[in-house]
Symmetry: C2
Subunit: 115 residues, 2 copies
C-alpha cells in the first residue's frame, strides 16, 4: 500500500459468486492486517480455526455468523468486532450469499505465550 | 476489550454536537488500534499532525477531508484507507457536521527508524 494514497476497501470488489479472497493490507513485525471478502463461504464442515496468534476481526459490510467453541453463535452486523485469543477455536458458519461480506482482520502475537 | 464478546463500533454513539472522542480498542507492543468519533471537528488552524509512528487510517462512516502536506486534499468516504508514514504532516480540514464520522486508526512503529 503506497503512502498518502487512498485505497477503498468496499469499492471495486469482485462480483458475487467469486472465490473467498484474503488480501494482506499492511504487514509489520508486530501485526498483519488483512481484508477478507466472503460471498457466502463458510469454514469447511468440521474444521475449526485454531490460530497461534490473537486476532481482532471487524465486519465492515455484509452479514455473518461466527461460532466460538463453547459459546452461542454470534450474528455479526456491520461495525461488529470480536477479539479472538490464540487457540480460541472458531468457525464462520454463515456469510450472506446475497451480498459480499467484507472483513478486516488484525493478527498479532499473543500476550501470554511467546509463539 | 473482552475476548469472544461482540463490540460494535457504529452503534450507541454519543449524539451530534459532542466532543471528539479518541478511544483505544486494542494495544500491544507492536501497535495501538483506536476509534475516533468526529462531529464536524477538524485539526486546529495552523496545526499539523507530525507523528513519530506510522498510521493507517480507515473511515468507517461519515465523510472527511484530509490534507497531507504538499498534496491535494483527499475527500474520504466510507471504506477509504490512507497510510501515513511517520512525520508525514497531515491535517483533517473537514468532517461532516451533519453526521458522525467514525475512524479506525492503527498506529505502529515506523519501519525505517527505530524511534
Amino acid at each position: 500500500m503506497k503512502s498518502g494514497n487512498v485505497v477503498n476497501l468496499l469499492q471495486g470488489l469482485a462480483p458475487a459468486g467469486s472465490e473467498e479472497v484474503f488480501e494482506s493490507l499492511v504487514q509489520r513485525p508486530g501485526f498483519r492486517l488483512e481484508r477478507i471478502l466472503s460471498w457466502g463461504q463458510v469454514t469447511p464442515e468440521d474444521e475449526w480455526y485454531d490460530q497461534a496468534e490473537d486476532e481482532w476481526v471487524l465486519l465492515l459490510t455484509g452479514a455473518a455468523r461466527l461460532l466460538v467453541e463453547g459459546q452461542e453463535a454470534l450474528a455479526l452486523v456491520p461495525g461488529d468486532t470480536v477479539l479472538l485469543p490464540a487457540h480460541c477455536r472458531h468457525r464462520v458458519i454463515w456469510t450472506d450469499p446475497a451480498q459480499v461480506t467484507v472483513w478486516l482482520a488484525l493478527h498479532f502475537p499473543s500476550e501470554g505465550s511467546p509463539e
